[in-house]
Subunit: 255 residues, 2 copies
DNA sequence: TCCACTTATTGATCTGAATTAATAAAAAAC
DNA sequence: GTTTTTTATTAATTCAGATCAATAAGTGGA
């Protein structure tokens, strides 16, 4: 890589949304960034609707999403699809599948998407040199688990309109954390079919719930731009509670 | 601690179900066990129905369950309860709540329970000395996330009887991994009320599904002893897929 | 600019599972 | 061993949300 390209690469990593996420619970020195720099490989672009991970196949990379959107999902015999989580910029495509023998679900891009490849082996090697990255991964995993936990509450015990309200607030918060949303509005990058499969609803019913949120003046939306007109009420409706990660303790570097 | 007590303690850690879980994806040397030994604190016993974690409060320990059962749950305004996951021997009570400012859900014991206390700070310190433990935590977190993902599929798109079948198979596999189940049978340590709150069903409906599994000769059960009489059919019904963690790569010790 | 395809919206019907309520059985407490 | 509490079982009613079906509006590609 030429020096100019290297610099461009460095700069892009510093403003990589994955780094933005890490920064929320750990301090990243320039040296840390360089360490990360050394283990990531090429950047890749995939087109909308392209599969990133296929269920049943081995997968051993922690790809960091730079831009674009994807979904983790599972298909059932009946042809029904359940989406486990949506993948936003800054998320790790290969978590948690890279930790298993074979992928337990599929991932498909729902928009054009760019990501940085980081082999799990390289990351593990980095952890042995810089142990804080091992902890960082646990932190991200805890965040992911907490998001999943909220989805379980959504699907198990929340009403359809509560689920939708919660989904909108969650996506907004996650986009905000990586600078992809405004204070009270954002561009929803998912079709109603996708949202229905996240929330375990039928598309017609989801559509009605969307309308009800508008009727009750909790949101306005034209096309896919969503604006919260009454955030407090929406949060109450959704039982929404922000997920604030604590900082990693004991980040003292060893000599 | 007296030397005799220390030895007893050491021995108990080696056969601690948490160690059994770690051993499934990493090799633990006697030195590793000693390192763990140094950071765990006292053992504690709580009685059935006693709260272990209360939503909204700070919590900073990774307690490893030695014996007994508990549940992570959230209560909604309506008084409904959703159980996020059941906690079995070998599980970490403080995951993922210890990584957040304040606990995002509650944990209550559903039987008498013993656990080993391990402060998160101490564990983090250990990770800086022995980086493989940071990775180990990520591995456990990935496992937890995968279990949650299956629950999302259960709640979103599986029928009640499929959910129940899946639940029984999952619990059996998890108990088997820590030596708490037989090959095709196990003692179900949860009431129907608990299972209903895991699966997002009402108690009467869960009860009917339980009967249907018996009628269809997939299980037999008297009291709480469950026996799988047709494991293959049950797995098919449940869309069950075992979760096999890959080993941690690059476990070379640094000098 | 048009065509093909995807996505959003609306309406009518019907079923699965919640709800409520009551009882039976089992376990725990005393 | 008896009482109290918890847990399991059964039945009748109700309704939320799926399903099916059709149309409208958008979007992207050639």
């Amino acid at each position: 890589m030429s020096i100019a390209a290297q610099i461009a690469h460095d700069m892009s990593l510093a403003e990589h949304p994955f780094v933005a996420r890490l920064s929320r619970f750990m301090k990243l020195s320039p040296a840390d960034l360089s360490s990360l720099e050394l283990i990531v490989e090429s950047e890749r672009l995939v087109k909308k609707r392209k599969d990133l991970i296929v269920v049943g196949y081995e997968y051993r990379d922690l790809c960091f999403v730079k831009d674009g959107y994807a979904i983790r999902y599972k298909l059932l015999r009946s042809g029904k699809r359940q989406i486990l989580n949506v993948i936003l910029p800054g998320d790790i495509i290969g978590f948690p599948v890279s930790f298993f023998d074979r992928s337990i679900y599929s991932v498909v891009a729902v928009s054009d998407l760019t990501y940085t490849i980081c082999p799990l082996d390289s990351y593990a090697r980095l952890c042995h040199e810089q142990p804080q990255f091992g902890l960082a991964l646990s932190w991200l995993a805890a965040h992911e688990a907490a998001i999943y936990a909220e989805h379980i509450v959504d699907l198990g015990r929340r009403t359809p309109i509560e689920r939708l309200a919660h989904f909108l607030l969650e996506i907004h918060a996650r986009l905000l954390a990586v600078g992809r949303a405004e204070k009270t509005s954002f561009d929803l990058p998912f079709s109603q079919e996708v949202i229905a499969d996240v929330l375990g609803l039928s598309v017609p019913h989801l559509n009605r719930m969307m309308q009800q949120l508008r009727v009750e003046q909790l949101i306005t939306s034209r096309s896919r731009l969503v604006e919260f007109t009454n955030m407090a009420s929406l949060q109450t409706l959704a039982h929404y509670q922000p997920l604030d990660l604590a900082p990693i303790p004991m980040l003292v570097k060893r000599a």
